[in-house]
Subunit: 506 residues, 2 copies
Amino acid sequence: MTYLFLRAAQKMNGVNAHCEDVLGFSHAEGQHFLNEAFKIIFEEAVRKGIDKNEKVCVWQDPAQLEKLLDLDLRDCGETHDQLLSRVRDVAKYSVKTNHPRFFNQLYSGVDYHALVGRLLTETLNTSQYTYEVAPVFVLMERVVLTKLRSMVGWSSGDGVFCPGGSMSNMFAMNLSRYHTFPQVKQQGLWSLPRLAVFTSQESHYSVMKGAAFLGIGTDHVYSVKTNQQGSMDADDLEGKIMLARSQGAVPLYVNATAGTTVRGAFDPLDRIADICEKHGLWMHVDAAWGGSVLFSEKHRHLVKGIDRANSVTWNPHKMLTTGLQCSAFLVRDTTNLLQRCHSANATYLFQQDKFYDMSLDTGDKTVQCGRKVDCLKLWLMWKAIGTKGLAERIDRAFAMARYFAEEMEKREGFQLLYEPQFVNTCFWYIPPSLRGKENTTDYKDRLSKVAPAIKERMMKQGTIMVGYQPLNGEINFFRMVVVSPHISLRDMDFCLDEIERLGKDL
Amino acid sequence: MTYLFLRAAQKMNGVNAHCEDVLGFSHAEGQHFLNEAFKIIFEEAVRKGIDKNEKVCVWQDPAQLEKLLDLDLRDCGETHDQLLSRVRDVAKYSVKTNHPRFFNQLYSGVDYHALVGRLLTETLNTSQYTYEVAPVFVLMERVVLTKLRSMVGWSSGDGVFCPGGSMSNMFAMNLSRYHTFPQVKQQGLWSLPRLAVFTSQESHYSVMKGAAFLGIGTDHVYSVKTNQQGSMDADDLEGKIMLARSQGAVPLYVNATAGTTVRGAFDPLDRIADICEKHGLWMHVDAAWGGSVLFSEKHRHLVKGIDRANSVTWNPHKMLTTGLQCSAFLVRDTTNLLQRCHSANATYLFQQDKFYDMSLDTGDKTVQCGRKVDCLKLWLMWKAIGTKGLAERIDRAFAMARYFAEEMEKREGFQLLYEPQFVNTCFWYIPPSLRGKENTTDYKDRLSKVAPAIKERMMKQGTIMVGYQPLNGEINFFRMVVVSPHISLRDMDFCLDEIERLGKDL
């Protein structure tokens, strides 16, 4: 019956049941479209995407952009020509994060080898849970994680790639909880004493999100003071641990940060490790941003003591420019804690009578089921330029950031907030109208409006993108971030010139 | 000083400070590599990846594969020719999930428009958190989610794309908890009574993982019985709610499944909605697998009542072949619950003095920070074939699965476990040596070894990939899943022929 229905349906669609031409698209047509579309992607998103003569963004008002893009989804499909112009439009109106004038986030620039890794990953479209469906990637992930761990200083351990650093940080918090109180997996938090976790006031907001999501609650996150550079005050950490105890909570977990999001500050890891050892706490290092300094002989002192941590988050999609997403969660444990903590032993996926070594089915180490392949882009890039090439890039980014700060000090109107530790440079641009007015009552109010006003102009003119924010009582300031290996000194100069040009009349 | 260092470093590397040629790779070289690599990706992963004359997988023993791939990461980089052969090798030894003989997971096949969407997403490499860096995708995600919600039957609501269905299901559980007990975000679970969540014994294991991760604990997941088809027994659900109450727990959340992972069963949503309303529980529908039946006039009755849910998980990366990952988490709520539950209001990202409508910065609706763009691949595919085209694909997959089951019944040695409801077909292959031996004492023991043995042979010969598993006391059986729009009746016949060929001597 249904067989006849199918034959009839196929006939209606003008389709031969024994050929590939179904529902209007043959493989041949599809492949032709793919090749045509790739040419457009290459031209619009790659070639123009890095061209200084093109804008970093083409600002459109949301209502206008919605109209331009004709986003509505309809009953009937479109021709390939229409679709190709949609590909062109999406590229045209998207922000060019590969562009040498994009400094807005902790990721920027393009590495062509990593990009090839991403395109191949998307084309192969498999899930990183079993050796059966991802043989190459199971082995590759193991090698990449082992290499990253060895750079942290661990000759053994475990790990998994996560969908972003926030998830990696949550994994750490969950793991620490399970490690200390294994009954939590079955019995929940009701069977545990009230827990306390510790993180600096400049750490990433994912610690708060994680505490809420994991049922611990943000009230149980103790905010540790930072010093003038933005690094955790270790004495205050110890004070907060005592405070938590005095309030009847059980200190569990310290999140130390290697490279804070805004200021790029590094917490004193050795000191924190001492405190964690003394009090028996899990030490996690959120090195999502700063972990890549491990490549640099010159700068890796910033994370001295990281090898004493129990777990580390490290996002190569930031400073190593692998492309989103690539977040490694690394664990020092060698007792299969990660799998014991997260596993559910689904019999349809992790059958125990497979014909190969089932320890290769690593999917139960995560709380995800299907999981994207995140190792190939990093692996291919690493193969392309080697550990030394990656190290040079890190050193170069530091030198670029230093140059930027030094040049700034030569110019009137630029004021550094702090001597930068890392590749984040935080500064105010003070327009001529405000210079020498530091003591007037409305100075701070007026200065706080400068960065947003310049930001609006840079976006609307599409010449450059740099982020701004307030922090710890400091009014709005710019945060310049240097990542991309293709950035030149000229780009640094341009950035200063452009902020001056955009803001001098404010 | 550092400026001089930089000049020196650049000179040492033979690099001009004012050009793009840094660290050995110019844009020109990189772009040339990208184009060469794309040709290889096209040939090896696309063209050969769907060719029936090529293997679906090239099985290698892990130790052998590791050697073949030369995975080690070294100090020095490689030439472009070496890297191109690495691209070729990764493609060669990877499983071809686009292949018409790949039936191993709930995803399979290739949609070329979706693939183009993925390649463009990777090239643009941005994060889906603010309008500032993802203007096109913020608007596009809103349109796509609105459209998916309208298919569920909601004219308003909220939603976000998540890194996989497990995360979407966790979001639902967290949202229900916050909805009923908003103090949990700050105070944690210690401030709440013991909670109880309910899910069928055939539901996805992410409910258990979620309960553990969220601190609720797997003991507080009440497993509800299923009927002969694998659908939740609504009477037992009500019984379990009473049981939980009698044990001092507060019933919170029911996870109903639309399309179970193994059997493809649909829970009775209307009945479950009645029970949830009566008892004041949050109703979530895990329609990760089955949600796509909403496209089909003929089959959408399977999810009748889904509009009465509070939240829905729906993964277009499964039946709609958008490619991994594409998991929509949809919410009926119109009070900004999603953002209130998950937000942390980071000032460096979600500044409140931006020059555009800041409600477009949707990044705080999720527990992630950086988030991959998952909407473009679905949007472009939808534009390409329209709602009608997608509907035809769903109907066709059902018809293919029916054909497969009907053909099986004509053949000796194939035995259906149940009449399929969906596009999963569960069956045993019984080799001649076991036919008529149903009453012998070792029959089950021997039959349970047949599927793993055939599986090993199919993988080693690379002719086909179909999954197997035990379930609810039933010994190992095959689960055939039809998804890809390019599958033909001949592929269905081939699958049966091949299992017979591989297993007849067992």
